[in-house]
């Protein structure tokens, strides 16, 4: 009976709920018209400091990124000497240690090129990380009803190794993007 239900729904919307008591508006005026209370300042400061701490942490993590990747690169490229920046690349072991699932998978083409060399001593000649760009995105609501503000961080890493004998160069370029969620205080 959709039409008849519409009649009831229409009649319901014609009912006029009573307004809140006058004490409600007085209480609202006291709290909404008043200047920010010290507690609000504390919450603002706390939120700001939390956000700053998150960003600082993210920056530190990103700063450590290239070092970790260098450490990762060593076993994957079969480095004989542990001393950085000299890398000894054994071409045969490159094929054996194909690491499709590793973070270095995008460099497979470079490794294939290096694999054609019989043996080479590569020295790290440059390592560069671009400044991180931060993008504050619109707040989003999570399933539990809380809100977070996503922050997208982007930066690029580039490293070059050179074999002084043949002047052959290995260039690795790693774009990096990560997203952090900063909790928003809404209560």
């Amino acid at each position: 009976m959709p039409d008849q239900d519409d009649d009831i729904a229409l009649a319901l919307s014609a009912l006029r709920p009573r307004p809140p008591g006058p004490s409600v508006e007085r209480a609202l005026a006291e709290r909404l018209d008043a200047p920010p209370a010290p507690r609000s300042n504390v919450i603002l400061w706390f939120s700001g400091l939390t956000a700053a701490a998150c960003l600082a942490l993210a920056f530190l993590v990103l700063q450590q990124g290239p070092v970790e990747r260098q450490a990762l690169a060593a076993p994957l490229l079969s480095v004989a000497d542990e001393a950085v920046p000299v890398l000894r690349v054994e071409a045969r072991s490159l094929r054996a240690k194909e690491v499709a699932a590793s973070p270095l998978a995008p460099a497979a083409a470079t490794r294939s090129a290096a694999a054609t060399l019989p043996e080479a001593n590569y020295r790290l000649v440059s390592a560069h990380a671009s400044p991180a760009s931060l993008e504050l995105l619109e707040p989003v609501r999570l399933r539990d009803g809380t809100y977070v503000r996503p922050v997208r961080l982007r930066r690029d890493h580039s490293m070059q190794w050179e074999d002084p004998r043949s002047k052959a160069r290995l260039v690795r370029y790693l774009p990096e993007e990560s997203t952090l969620l900063l909790p928003l205080e809404t209560y």
Partner: protein, 170 residues
Amino acid sequence: MAEMSDAPVSADWRAWFADHGPRLRMIARQWTRSEADADDVLQEAFIRFWKHQRHLPGDPNALVVTSIRRAALDLIRSSDRRAVREKAVAADTETVGWFEPEADPRLRALAESLGRLPAEQREVVALKTWGGLTFDQIGEQLTISSNTAASRWRYAMESLRRLITARTHA
């Protein structure tokens, strides 16, 4: 019913509250045991919404209803009344007092009949009629499926029709 889409940009809480306060209080009344509790819940929820949530993305209607429900649940918990919750809330309500007096006998009968509905049906009626929520949004609020919300609405409409007919023919 006034639309709530102007909430995020409006800076005048008094005008906004004057437009929407009555129906928000009607929603608060669904989850509280007394008029005074409904006023308290509405006050807390509105302050929370206005200070912290009105600029958030999403439907402001759903946001303010969520705020009301949380404030009502907080009050129930703080009063150690968890065990009696919504069903008991509904048991002792005189719904005719929730509305302004009506001259039309059919509207009076409707206002009285609301109190005869089971609480879970009446809260769906309130959220849809005065909250302006869709069945999907009602489902999210009450943690039920939208189909269940729609079913409760249909049962409520049938019950109200039956009750009004009985009252007007009595």
